[in-house]
């Protein structure tokens, strides 16, 4: 069973790209999402994300992400719909709540942005090994190893903590805590105290990782310690141009 950020091995064109290129592509997709307010462009970016997932052989994960983000988006959509006002009033609701033309348009923009900007980073992490990512941050972007390691370790810990939390929930449900209730408020009431064991386990795990890193000579590691090369190939240049084109298109469309 793999978590949503775990590396999925593969031999696709995207897998073979330089980790820096993948990072740039995903960041540029995010930037394009935030520049543009055009619905069509935002939908096209979401479709592009799915196409990336398909090309990398991780379409099921891409669809799973889309499904999860859509669920979260529903709540955000509803809030934006009720609280953004402008343009013609479409529906008047009790408690002086109004659904306006601008409210509908902006709710869609925010939801599409959230989906479009979150997916590329998660997809990029699914097709990039953490070691490669930290190595490229150190060798190409000249970030001190300590910080690159911190960043990649933080990302590596997300699925571990998610797994730990589901283990804690299982253990508490087995004791008779009604965590399997359908009542969301009851569920929140029961889940909140479980943050204590999660926090304690997390601190223990982090401390353990820090000790093992020290034992293995973490402080001796320098930029030169990286034995793997990460050359920028023609395909990387092509993808970077495509990333720039994407941002440029977003600027043009939003200016139009």
């Amino acid at each position: 069973m793999k978590g949503f950020l775990d590396y999925v091995p593969g031999n696709s064109f995207l897998h073979k790209l330089n980790p820096l290129t993948k990072l740039v592509l995903s960041l540029m997709i995010c930037v394009a999402c935030f520049i543009s307010e055009n619905h069509l462009l935002l939908v096209a970016i979401i479709l592009l994300n799915l196409a990336i997932a398909k090309a990398a052989g991780i379409l099921p994960r891409g669809l799973m992400l889309l499904k999860g983000l859509t669920k979260i988006s529903l709540v955000i959509f509803l809030l934006q719909l009720l609280f953004i006002r402008g343009g013609d009033i479409l529906i008047t609701l009790p408690l002086n709540l109004l659904i306006t033309e601008r409210g509908v348009a902006m709710a869609f923009v925010i939801v599409f942005r959230l989906i479009g900007a979150t997916m590329p980073l998660a997809l990029m992490l699914s097709i990039t090994q953490m070691n490669d990512l930290s190595n490229v941050l150190v060798t190409k972007l000249k970030i001190p190893y300590k910080y690159a390691f911190t960043l990649t370790t933080a990302m590596r810990f997300i699925p571990i903590f998610a797994n730990e939390m589901s283990g804690i929930i299982e253990a508490q449900a087995s004791r008779g805590v009604e965590l399997d209730t359908r009542n969301i408020f009851k569920k929140i009431k029961f889940v909140l105290p479980l943050c204590v064991p999660l926090l304690i386990t997390s601190v223990k795990k982090i401390e353990g990782s820090a000790i093992s890193a020290e034992i293995r000579g973490f402080h001796l590691r320098t930029r030169e310690s990286c034995y793997k090369g990460y050359p920028i190939k023609k395909s990387d240049v092509g993808v970077m141009f495509f990333s720039a084109f994407l941002v440029f298109s977003a600027i043009i469309v939003s200016g139009a």
């Binding site: 069973m1 730990e164 283990g167 804690i168 299982e170 253990a171 508490q172 449900a173 087995s174 004791r175 008779g176 805590v177 009604e178 965590l179 399997d180 209730t181 105290p193 479980l194 204590v196 064991p197 304690i200 386990t201 223990k204």
Partner: protein
């Protein structure tokens, strides 16, 4: 009491459990043994409803786990996980034991009585912080909060992990005591000495199927099944197997001593008779 009928289960990566059928009656002490990844924990999670079978049925006390919530099943099933830190969620040992009791009972007098009994039986300081205890003590605390409730069925996933010999025997003694009161115990265990000393029945799991099911001593004689499950019987049982005739029922030091004495006496008698025969001849 526990009835599994043609149970299949998969996590989406191939079948983890295949065609499991067995029945466990009230008051039995059953050990589940097998190599890592054989499906032991999955099988136990199916018993308390944490996992639902892909096909087949798991019925506990008349309740189908496929349709009953885990929190409902928890009223009659206690489950000890491999990692006690997932179970402990309170700031003091007293609160931790109390939490389990309050989930199970409403009677305040009964709760107070059970709490004090558990604290004294396990020798815990009520006000100590559970997260400052050693790994073995945390495991004992998790077990104590389960035993305090006295569930009808107790499922233990490697209960003696992190224990020294004395702690192990003491804790297993308490579990046996609960079993003596009528509770059904289902235990996953990698320590074959513990299995031999406490379990009455053993299920051997290999690659998701039950390959042997029988009385503990009978199972430890099935070399082929144990080998298939990558399990070695206790050393004394292995020695008895190699010694062969006259050592078939040897599983403890006392039994080994008796068997050796018997063999020596037999040989002495044989030598004596041979010597007498030579003299008279």
């Amino acid at each position: 009491m526990v009835n599994l009928q043609d149970v299949f289960f998969d996590y989406g990566e191939g079948e983890t459990l295949k065609n499991i059928s067995c029945r466990i009656d009230k008051g039995e002490f059953v050990a589940i043994i097998g190599a890592n990844g054989a499906g032991k924990t999955t099988l136990c999670k199916l018993l308390n409803g944490l996992l639902k079978p892909s096909s087949g049925s798991v019925v506990i006390n008349g309740m189908d786990t496929g349709t009953t919530k885990t929190s409902t099943l928890a009223k009659s099933i206690g489950f000890l996980f491999q990692n006690p830190d997932r179970q402990i969620c309170k700031n003091t040992v007293r609160e931790e034991i109390l939490f389990g009791l309050e989930l199970a009972f409403n009677d305040k007098v009964l709760i107070a009585e059970r709490l004090e009994n558990t604290l004294s039986t396990f020798g815990f300081q009520g006000d100590s912080n559970p997260f400052n205890l050693s790994r073995g003590e945390r495991q004992r605390l998790a077990l104590a909060s389960l035993i305090a409730v006295e569930p009808e069925i107790l499922i233990l996933d490697e209960p003696t992990t992190g224990f020294d010999y004395m702690e192990s025997m003491k804790t297993m003694g308490m579990i046996k005591e609960l079993n003596g009161k009528g509770a059904t115990v289902i235990m996953i265990c990698h320590d074959m000495e513990v299995v031999l000393d406490f379990a009455e029945r053993v299920l051997v799991l290999a690659e998701g199927t039950i390959i042997a099911d029988g009385q503990t001593r009978e199972i430890f004689r099935k070399e082929e099944a144990l080998e298939q499950a990558s399990v070695l019987p206790p050393q004394l049982a292995q020695l008895a197997l190699r010694l062969g005739e006259g050592f078939e029922d040897v599983f403890s030091v006392d039994e080994m001593t008796d068997a050796i004495m018997k063999r020596m006496n037999k040989e002495r008698t044989f030598e004596h008779e041979r010597f007498s025969g030579l003299c008279t001849g």
